[in-house]
Symmetry: C2
Subunit: 426 residues, 2 copies
C-alpha cells in the first residue's frame, strides 16, 4: 500500500476512449490497494486550439488573460477523467490548481510554485477517493489563475508528490521510458531501467524531450522518485532517483553502467564574432551585451589569434530562437566591441554523451572522439561537465554521429523494440 501520484500528458487523454483507458489504469492502481492522486494535462490539441483562437484576436494577449484561457483545457480533461473513474465504480473528485492548494507567484505564463496546501487532496485520499488535479495551473495571491509554463503538468505532479510525501511520481507518456538515444535516430536504442536525477538533468538540458528540466530539478531537490513509463503498456519504465537509492522493482546493481545515453539537439545556432581586439576583458564586454537580451548561451569557444594581428574570434551557441535578438544587440554594440563581422550559423547539431559513470572512467572522451573520427564526423566545438561531454557537428552529420557513438559505447539493444518516441505534452 503506497501513495502514488500519476501524471498523464495530453496525448494520453486526447479523446473520450483515451480518457477511459487512463481511467482503467487509475482504477487498477487503486484496486491494487494504493492511494492514487492523478495529475492531467489538457486533451490532445486543446491548448493549440485555444492559442489559435487567441491568435485570431490579438498578437499581444495580456498574460493574465492568456493564463485563464489556457487553464480551461485542464478543467475539461480533469472533470471528464473524474467521470470516467467514477463510471468504473471508484469514487473520484477533480480539483483545479486553486482547489488543490497550488499557490504561485504572479509571473503569468511562467509562474513558480511558492507553497502547496493540499488539504482537500489529503481529505479526498483519506475518504478513499481518487483525487484528480489539473496540471500546469495554480493561483496567485491576487486569487488569479496562473500557469507554470513549459513542463508545467510534470512540475505539478512532482510538487504534489513532494507535498504529499508520495512514494513515487509516475510520469505516463507515449514511450516506454527514457532511452539511450532517440529511437527515431537510433533504432537500436534501449530503454534505460534506472538513471540518476543528475544524468536526467543533463539529458533534458541537452535535447532529450521526455522529461522537462524543471520537474526533474524539483524531484531532485525534494527527492521524489520518478517512474517514467508508457500509458499504453504495463512494462516497467525508467526509474529516476538519487544514485544512492535502488529503485523499487529494480535489482540492486553495484556496477552502474558508465554511459546512460546519447542526447542530441538540432535547435541551436552558432554566432561567431570575428576579429575582436584581443585585450583583457573583451569576452566580458561581449557577454554583457548578450546577457542584456536574456539569451541562453550554451557553449563558448575563443580562438587564439594565429596571425599575430592582436585580434581574436569568439564563437558561442544558443537557441536558434534567441539568434535574432542577440545579433541585433551585437550590431548596436559594434562601436564598443570593434569586431569586423558577426557570422550566424543555424546548420549545427549538438551531441551529448551523459553518464554518471564517466566521473571514474578516464578514456571516455578518447573513445567518443575516435568513434566520431571513424564515422567521418568533424567536431567544431567541445564542452564538458563531470558527467557529460557535448560536441557540435554539422547538422547533416548529427544522426550519423549519434548512431556511431551509441554503438561505440555498446548501448545498442540486442533486439530493436518497436516504439514511438515523443514528448510528454506539457
Amino acid at each position: 500500500m503506497a501513495l502514488i501520484v500519476q501524471k498523464f500528458g495530453g496525448s494520453s487523454v486526447a479523446d473520450a476512449p483515451s480518457i477511459q483507458r487512463v481511467a482503467r489504469r487509475v482504477v487498477e492502481t487503486k484496486k491494487a490497494g494504493h492511494d492514487v492522486v492523478v495529475v492531467v494535462s489538457a486533451m490532445g490539441d486543446t491548448t493549440d486550439d485555444l492559442l489559435d483562437l487567441a491568435g485570431q484576436i490579438t498578437s499581444d494577449a495580456p498574460a493574465r488573460e492568456m493564463d485563464i484561457l489556457l487553464t480551461a483545457g485542464e478543467r475539461i480533461s480533469m472533470s471528464l477523467l473524474a467521470m470516467a473513474v467514477g463510471e468504473l465504480g471508484v469514487p473520484a473528485r477533480s480539483y483545479t490548481g486553486q482547489q488543490a492548494g497550488l499557490r504561485t507567484d504572479t509571473r503569468y505564463g511562467k509562474a513558480s510554485i511558492v507553497a502547496i496546501g493540499p488539504e482537500r487532496i489529503t481529505s479526498a485520499i483519506s475518504e478513499g477517493k481518487v483525487a484528480i488535479v489539473a496540471g500546469f495551473q495554480g493561483v496567485n495571491e491576487l486569487n488569479d489563475v496562473t500557469t507554470l509554463g513549459r513542463g508545467g503538468s510534470d512540475t505539478t505532479a512532482v510538487a504534489l508528490a513532494a507535498a504529499l510525501e508520495a512514494d513515487v511520481c509516475e510520469i505516463y507518456t507515449d514511450v516506454d521510458g527514457l532511452f539511450t538515444a532517440d529511437p527515431r535516430v537510433v533504432p537500436s536504442a534501449r530503454k534505460v531501467p534506472a538513471i540518476t536525477y543528475e544524468e536526467t538533468l543533463e539529458l533534458a538540458a541537452n535535447g532529450a524531450k521526455v522529461l522537462h528540466l524543471r520537474s526533474v530539478e524539483f524531484a531532485r531537490r525534494h527527492n521524489v522518485p520518478l517512474h517514467v513509463r508508457s500509458s499504453f503498456s504495463h512494462k516497467e519504465g525508467t526509474w529516476v532517483t538519487d544514485a544512492s537509492v535502488t529503485a523499487p522493482g529494480q535489482e540492486e546493481n553495484m556496477e552502474q553502467p558508465i554511459i546512460s545515453g546519447v542526447a542530441h539537439d538540432r535547435s541551436q545556432g552558432k554566432i561567431t564574432v570575428v576579429d575582436l581586439p584581443d585585450v583583457p576583458g573583451i569576452a566580458a564586454r561581449l557577454f554583457e551585451v548578450v546577457a542584456g537580451v536574456d539569451a541562453n548561451i550554451d557553449m563558448i569557444v575563443q580562438n587564439v589569434s594565429t596571425h599575430g594581428s592582436g585580434r581574436t574570434d569568439i564563437s558561442f551557441t544558443l537557441p536558434e530562437s534567441d539568434g535574432r535578438a542577440v545579433r541585433t544587440a551585437l550590431a548596436e554594440a559594434a562601436d564598443q566591441l570593434q569586431y569586423s563581422e558577426v557570422r550566424w550559423d543555424d546548420q549545427i547539431g549538438k551531441l551529448s554523451l551523459v553518464g554518471a559513470g564517466m566521473r571514474s572512467h578516464p578514456g571516455v572522451s578518447a573513445k567518443l572522439f575516435s568513434a566520431l573520427f571513424g564515422a567521418g564526423v568533424n567536431i567544431e566545438m567541445i564542452s564538458t561537465s563531470e558527467i557529460r561531454i557535448s560536441v557540435v557537428t554539422r547538422i547533416e552529420d548529427l544522426d550519423t554521429a549519434v548512431r556511431a557513438v551509441h554503438s561505440a559505447f555498446e548501448l545498442d539493444a540486442e533486439e530493436t523494440e518497436a516504439v514511438v518516441y515523443g514528448g510528454t505534452g506539457r
Copy 2:
C-alpha cells in the same frame, strides 16, 4: 455617465470575429462615457461539445464534475473577449464566477445565488477597466464550482446589475427585442418597445423563449431595468421595467397598449384520466400522485359527469418530457384511484394572450374566442390569470390560431421586419 451591465449570449460570441464585434460594442459604450460590466456565455456550440464528450464517457455524470466541465466554456469566451477589448485600447479584465464573488448554494447544475461580493468588479470599474464576467457559474461554500442552470448567464447579469446598482442590464441577443409573437409564425409581428416584468414573466412561462423566467423574476424582485436588444444592430430593443417606470429613452406613454403579445408553446402534452369516482377529494388524491414525481402541471379541467354514472374525467397539461413519469405513477396508483383509463395526447398546442392592460379592459376574452371561432380553431381547454388568457388547441391549428389572434388584437406591424428569431443561449 451610467453603469451598464451587458450580457452576450453564445450566438453573439460564436467565433473570433463575433468576439471582436462584441468587443467593438463594449468599447463604444465605454467610450460614450459609461462604466461597463460584461457577462458572457460560452462560445456557440462549446457547451454542446462538452456535453457530448461527457456523454461518451458516462450517462450518469456526477453533477459536481459536470459543473466544473461546463464552466470551462465561459472561461474561454471571457478571456478571449478581454483580449479583444484590450486590443482596441481599452483595459479589460476577466473574472470567473468565483472571482466576481458569486456565491451559490451547493445544488450543482441548478444552483441559486445566495450572495454577491463583487469587490473585484467594483475595483476594476473604479480603475477605469471593463470587467468581463463568466456567466452561468458561481462558487459554493466548499469552494467548488457550481452552475446556475438554464438561463444562468442572464441570471448572472441581472444579479450583478442588482448588486452593483447598475442603471440598466442590457441583454444582447440575435433578435431586436421581445416581439408581439414569434416572427417565424407571425411574419407581421412587431417589436414591443416596453413591457412590464409581470407580462414578460407570463410570456416566458408560456412559451416565449428570448428571456428566461428566472432572470426576469430576479430583475423584478430587485427592480433592475432590462433592455433586450440585438447585438447585430444599434436599434433600441425592448425595455422591461416596472409598469410605473418610464424606460430611459422611451417617451412617456400614458396609455399602455392592452395586449403585449401572443405566446405559443408546442412542448406540452395532455393527460386525461377517465371515469374517476366523482367523490370529494378525488382530485386531491390524483394530484398527490402526480406531485410525487415532481411534474409541472399547467392547466386542469374537470368534466362534470353527464351520464349520471357518478363518475368524472380530469384532464391536465404538463411538459411532454414529464409525461412518461406521470403515466407510470398513475398506473401504479390504479387501485387507489379506480379510473377506467389514462389517455395521453401529445398533439396539443397552447396559445397565451398576455397584457397588463387586460385587467381594466373587459371583453378581451370575448374577442379572443371570436377570433379563434372565425379562424375555425376549436378550443379544448382555457385558463386565465389577471394579465393572461391561455387556450389549448390541436397542435396543427396553433399557427393559424396565433396569426388570427395577433390580427384581431391589431398587433400586426405595418411593414414586416426581417428578423431571425431565436434563443439567447444560456
